[in-house]
């Protein structure tokens, strides 16, 4: 769709004040119900509740990393990069390949740590370069095409990557040995797994680095400028193609880190993992407000928490409903608060 430099008129939001009022009431009712559910579960068994919450947050950190990739790309070219989840899946396969096949590490050891660090660097490069090549080969040519075209291309790319995963990993789930320390710390009945601490130890510095790149560096400034208005950025001397490529690179790197962490903590690889986790992570990005980076992190942690609680507490719906719960949240948010928790209102550019 054409982007005009002038401010666009937004469509009338709602014709009736009454309906807006009703919506607000419905939104608060749902929030109150969720809160009541949390309180009931907490009082029922606080230790179980907290264990589930800790487990959920650990998953949430991974979702945050993937969600950032979606949010970065959406922020800059308004494309839902469907292939991102599958990139994450290739990240899990690649880290498994490096650690288990190349280094042959199957348990915690000094060599295992070396393998882990090398895999971290290599998986970042691997995923970043795949994401950049996809952008270069496909999305770049479709930048001026109607919105449907890049979206369908992204879906197609997702299938191509799934095919690579299928050939690489086989059609069944494979379990991978972990080189991270196992076991858990018992804090008054609440189990905190060591892998959780390692996920945080890797994720938090990387998120800090990300924030620094986007807010403090020249490259980050150019990224924000491109996100605001590509034409104006180009007039100011920003090489828009390079910036978009760079953004895809960062998104891919984050997916790669998430892939390594998933492979090491959860310990399984599957070729269709990307679809499932990618959709959950996208929900996280929307929940936080798509395009907003702190929002993506918050959304990721919240979705992880919700999933952990849903699967871990007594009155939860259980694992077989996880997908439905997450998508219901997505739909509720889309209906009641399309801007997400921390997003700014984005008008459809005309």
């Amino acid at each position: 769709m054409a982007q005009s430099p002038t401010a666009a008129a937004s469509l009338p939001k709602s014709r009736l004040r009454l309906s807006a009022y009703g919506e607000r009431v419905a939104a608060y009712t749902i929030l109150a119900a969720v809160f009541a559910w949390l309180v009931v579960n907490f009082l029922d068994n606080p230790q179980q509740f907290l264990s589930a919450a800790v487990f959920g947050i650990s998953n949430g950190a991974l979702y945050a990393l993937i969600a950032l990739g979606y949010s970065l790309v959406y922020g800059i070219i308004e494309l839902i990069n469907f292939a991102h989840g599958d990139l994450f899946m290739l990240g899990t396969l690649f880290s498994g390949f490096i650690i288990t096949v190349v280094f042959g590490s199957k348990a915690m050891s000094a060599m295992g740590w070396v393998a882990f660090l090398v895999a971290l660097v290599l998986v970042i490069l691997f995923c970043a370069s795949i994401n950049m090549s996809i952008e270069f080969l496909a999305y770049r040519r479709l930048r001026h095409a109607p919105k449907l075209a890049p979206l369908i291309t992204a879906v197609g790319m997702s299938f191509v990557l799934q095919f690579v995963g299928l050939k690489w990993n086989g059609s069944t789930q494979k379990s991978q040995p972990s080189v991270l320390p196992q076991g858990y710390i018992d804090l008054g009945g609440v189990r905190i797994y060591t892998s959780f601490l390692i996920v945080l130890a890797v994720t938090i510095p990387i998120l800090g680095l990300m924030t620094w790149i986007v807010t403090k560096t020249r490259m980050g400034k150019a990224m924000r400028a491109t996100a605001q208005d590509q034409d104006a950025a180009r007039l100011m001397g920003v090489n828009v193609n390079r910036i978009i490529s760079f953004t895809f690179g960062i998104g891919g790197a984050l997916a790669g880190v998430a892939g390594l962490m998933y492979e090491q903590t959860v310990g399984t690889t599957r070729y269709d993992l990307g679809l499932q986790l990618g959709l959950i992570a996208f929900t996280a990005a929307v929940l936080g407000g798509i395009g907003s980076l702190p929002g993506a992190v918050l959304g990721g942690v919240l979705i992880g928490l919700i999933q952990g609680l849903n699967e871990g507490v007594r009155y939860g719906a259980g694992q077989r409903w996880t997908q439905s719960v997450v998508f219901s949240i997505l739909i509720l948010f889309m209906v009641f608060k399309p801007t997400g928790l921390m997003g700014v209102s984005m008008r459809e550019k005309v």
Binding site: K13, L148, G156, V160, Q162, F163, F327, I331, P338
Partner: protein, 424 residues
């Protein structure tokens, strides 16, 4: 000095009214009758070699499956091709239609048998048993209702958010059926156990009497369609496909269809011209869902039971690939695309694989390449031929409009940049 020509140009016939479309039912009927006669009356009497080849490459069961896919793709075409709303969860309507059929014409519903012009198997004591026509209407209405329920709160969203929400529904609804053996304490779908068998439908049957491997004579009659009565199902599915084609073509020419095209091309301009956006979009969802529901009923009849496993995201994507490959918005393109991909998926790819492996002594698992083929098709079509194989002229213009009238600055010419650098 030449006189300027102020003459009003002679109004021409509107170009977009395609008059061949008025006679399509004849061609369609001829094709269907030829296929029916070939499979029922000619094929059984041919030599075993030919029969084997046909049974391998193009069995009637595959044609029926392809017709089911085609119905669904035509329904999706209304939503994606006409109204331009990307729907990534169309499989939900397929599942809803199928389960509606399973509820309305099997033992499943726990009431003592209610038979409304139905055809309950003898000895069935429970369940609803409706006539197939009533089931079709019921499933269509049920799906239309769900289309509106899904559409109503979400249609004011941005186009790509809408895709996500439909995807969400496309994941939730099959999961409800999958876990439906305990849905808030009720059994609504037997879960993965599946509901079946579904009441046999009455229709045209063509049965060939075979004695010692040699076909003797073929009897055509009216009766219950059994599991292998492909020719009877073929007639039914052809009629249903024709119905959906008819609906698609007629609505396309009418006020609603023109409103959809306007929305597809420019939503803002359409609303400024007085097109009621919400109502037109909801109608697109409802009509698309009706086709999905009919397709679901056909699917339940084909399988003779209803199980939740086939309804995955990849079905929605395959349908989208059919619409894109054939040509978004063009009914005939979508029909061809759907038949082609469905055949390729169910019979073509494995058969080609067997042939290649047999000829060259290789051992390649061809069906596992379907991911690559579909994904690659979508990408390549979008990059090089966005309008599909059989495009509508109108769609082609829209999709290649690109940045016309736009203020997009192009990349600076490398040569000019170099010259500027040299001047400095």
């Amino acid at each position: 000095m030449a006189q300027p020509n102020f003459a009003v140009p002679v109004p021409q016939r509107p170009q977009n009214v395609d008059r061949t479309k008025r006679s399509w039912p004849i061609g369609f009927a001829i094709a269907a009758v030829v296929i029916f006669i070939f499979y029922s009356f000619i094929l059984p009497y041919l030599t075993p070699d030919i029969r084997t080849v046909v049974q391998h490459w193009m069995p009637l069961g595959t044609i029926n499956t392809a017709l089911i896919w085609a119905m669904s793709a035509l329904g999706l075409n209304i939503v994606v091709g006409y109204a331009g709303l990307l729907d990534l969860g169309y499989v939900a309507f397929w599942a809803l239609g199928g389960y509606a059929a399973a509820w309305l014409m099997s033992y499943f519903v726990p009431v003592s048998a209610i038979n409304i012009l139905g055809n309950a198997a003898p000895g069935t004591k429970t369940g609803l048993h409706l006539n197939i026509l009533l089931v079709l209407i019921g499933a269509a209405a049920f799906c239309a209702l769900f289309g509106v329920i899904i559409g109503a709160p979400t249609l004011r969203l941005r186009s790509d958010y809408l895709a996500l929400v439909t995807l969400g529904f496309g994941e939730i609804i099959p999961q409800i059926f999958k876990n439906g053996d305990d849905f808030f304490g009720h059994n609504i779908s037997n879960g993965t156990q599946s509901i079946g068998p579904i009441d046999a439908v009455e229709g045209v049957t063509a049965r060939t009497t075979v004695v010692a491997g040699v076909a003797q004579h073929t009897d055509v009659g009216w009766g219950d369609l059994l599991a292998f009565d492909h020719s009877g199902r073929f007639i039914m599915f052809t009629l249903l496909t024709a119905l959906i084609i008819f609906i698609s073509l007629r609505i396309r020419q009418g006020r609603l269809g023109r409103a959809w095209l306007a929305i597809r091309e420019d939503e803002l301009a359409a609303s400024a011209m007085g097109v009621p956006l919400m109502r037109a979009k909801l109608a697109a969802y409802a009509v698309g869902a009706v086709a999905g529901g009919i397709c679901g009923v056909a699917y339940a009849l084909q399988l003779n039971r209803m199980l939740p496993d086939p309804f995955t995201f990849s079905v929605s994507i395959t349908l989208l690939a059919m619409v894109v490959l054939g040509g978004m918005g063009n009914v005939w393109g979508v029909l061809v695309g759907a038949l082609l991909i469905a055949w390729f998926n169910s019979t073509g790819l494995p058969e080609i694989g067997d042939t290649v492996n047999g000829t060259f002594g290789t051992n390649i698992d061809f069906p596992s390449y379907s991911f690559l083929i579909f994904g690659g098709t979508l990408v390549i079509m979008m990059l090089f031929r966005r309008e599909g194989l059989l495009p509508e002229r109108r769609t082609r213009l829209v999709l290649h409009e690109g940045a016309a009238g736009d203020t997009q600055a192009e990349e600076p010419d490398e040569e000019l940049v170099d010259q500027a650098g040299a001047v400095k």
